[in-house]
């Protein structure tokens, strides 16, 4: 577990400085957010619905732009990043959503391959890489199944496989277990933990306090757009 200890010399992967986000219409979703997430950390972002958790992730993905303050991801200042560099930023950020966002007409294999095809990767490499990541998430046998033939947990694992195709240094998950039975949620969390164990930074957003307690050693709590707690704990359940 030593690798998750955060020292001063650990490279900072995500940095928020005095970040404020006001949506058009005056909705203040985040304010005074100051935090750093370092390489190899496994971080939970906890908060009630509407607290600003998704907004936090959207700022990291540069889907939204901070109204004030600075967001730096992987050394890039996102307020200064050029439009044409955004896709390359996102290739370093694997994302998973509550609703999986798989293409219903495609098989598990095709869904994962899609992410590689649209990012200019040769077919030869796709044929090697897709089975590898499907195997990683334990879906080697389900490559030809379409989403409607898979359980929620399996669909989320396809989405996770897709998030892993570019070997991103950071994985971001927005309520990844929100649509999954509790037992299967544990599977997904354990997978994320395993991914974290090999050095990937993982940020998981959830409103499930128990889940966060169980799996994480750092919990950032957001309430009404403000960070109200940032606790490093004993190390959760461990692996």
């Amino acid at each position: 577990m030593a690798k998750r200890a955060v020292g001063a010399d650990t490279p900072v992967m995500i940095q928020f400085s005095n970040v404020k986000k006001v949506y058009p219409g005056g909705n203040v979703a985040l304010q005074d957010v100051n935090l750093e997430i370092c390489r190899g950390e496994f971080v939970f972002v906890l908060g009630h619905s509407g607290a600003g958790k998704s907004t936090f992730l959207k700022l990291i993905l540069r889907e939204e732009v901070a109204s004030a303050g600075k967001v730096v991801v992987g050394g890039r200042d996102l307020s200064k990043i050029r439009r044409k560099d955004i896709p390359y930023l996102r290739r370093g950020l694997g994302v998973v959503f509550q609703d999986f966002r798989l293409i219903p007409t495609m098989t598990a294999f095709e869904n994962v391959a899609f992410a590689m095809r649209v990012t200019n990767i040769p077919e030869k490499e796709i044929k090697k890489r897709v089975p590898y990541v499907l195997n990683l998430v334990g879906l080697a046998g389900k490559a030809r199944s379409r989403p409607d033939e898979l359980s929620g947990g399996e669909q989320q694992r396809v989405a996770l496989a897709r998030a892993l195709v570019h070997s991103p240094p950071i994985i971001i998950a927005d309520e990844p277990t929100g649509n999954i039975d509790p037992e299967l949620s544990v599977e997904i969390m354990e997978l994320l933990r395993a991914i974290n164990m090999v050095g990937t930074t993982v940020v998981v957003v959830t409103h499930e306090h128990d889940l966060a307690q169980r799996f994480s050693e750092r919990i950032i709590t957001i309430d009404h757009g403000e960070v109200v707690a940032d606790d490093v704990q004993g190390g959760g359940e461990g692996l």
Binding site: R90, R91, I103, F114, A115, V118, N120, P122, V165
Partner: protein, 299 residues
Amino acid sequence: MRLGSFSYLVKQGWKNMGANRLMTLACIGVLTACFLLTGVAVLLTLNVGRVVDYLADQNEIVVTLLPEVEEEQAAAIGEQIKGVPNVQDVVYESKDDAFNQMQSMLAEYGNLLEGFERIFPARYLVTVQDLTIIEDTNARLAGIAGVEKTYVPVDLAGVMIAINNAVTYGGWGIVAILALVSVIIISNTIRLTVFARRKEISIMKYVGATNAFIRLPFFVEGMTVGIIAGLISSGIVCAGYYFVMDFLNGMYNVWILKILDSFLTLGQVWYFIVIGAVVAGILIGGVGTASSVRKHLKV
């Protein structure tokens, strides 16, 4: 972009057309109709322009000289006529020429004109450069000393100018309107595809696809629709032109044949029609797609 990726995206564009089959067909149909009307308008405009040019060339002012004007004086008048602005060409017919011409026309009736040798006045046949100011030119010619009368088919000229203007402005006006309609139709079709594909598009953005990758299939779709409409409509226009010309030629009417002479032949225009329609299809498909993608595909 790798070639493999490019062909993948092109296929995606065609797949989108297939997924939206009805809309695609409707779009091609409407576009073909627009292109057909455009083709007809363009051909009419070009040909009417040529007919008017032809008639203008035929359009001479006949300047008759007073009977007492003799050859020497007539030559001086000829110089004066040449000096009048807008005069393009001048042909002189002496009294004898006029007589001989008339006699040859009446040859089969024998020596009908015997004893009338000197009654036909000498005349100048004057063609003008610009038909629109023929009346002004005519007035100047009538004012020259020694000129008896001038004959000018002013009415015909005026009518032809009016027709030419109407057809030209109307024709290009119709072309402009139809082009706009075509762009809107393509734009709308692409908007529907963007809507149908919004889920894939959002996934593409999250996994880091570049704008070019996201947009290319839509341009492929829009331009392919444009090209297909261009090919179909130009084929129909060429076939239609062939049959209309064939029909008119078959009427064996001297006037029609004369006018047909100045028409463009199918051999002269078919490649112009086909290439023009395909290029127009690509342009309109591209512009239509771009306007739709700009509005509905925020990246």
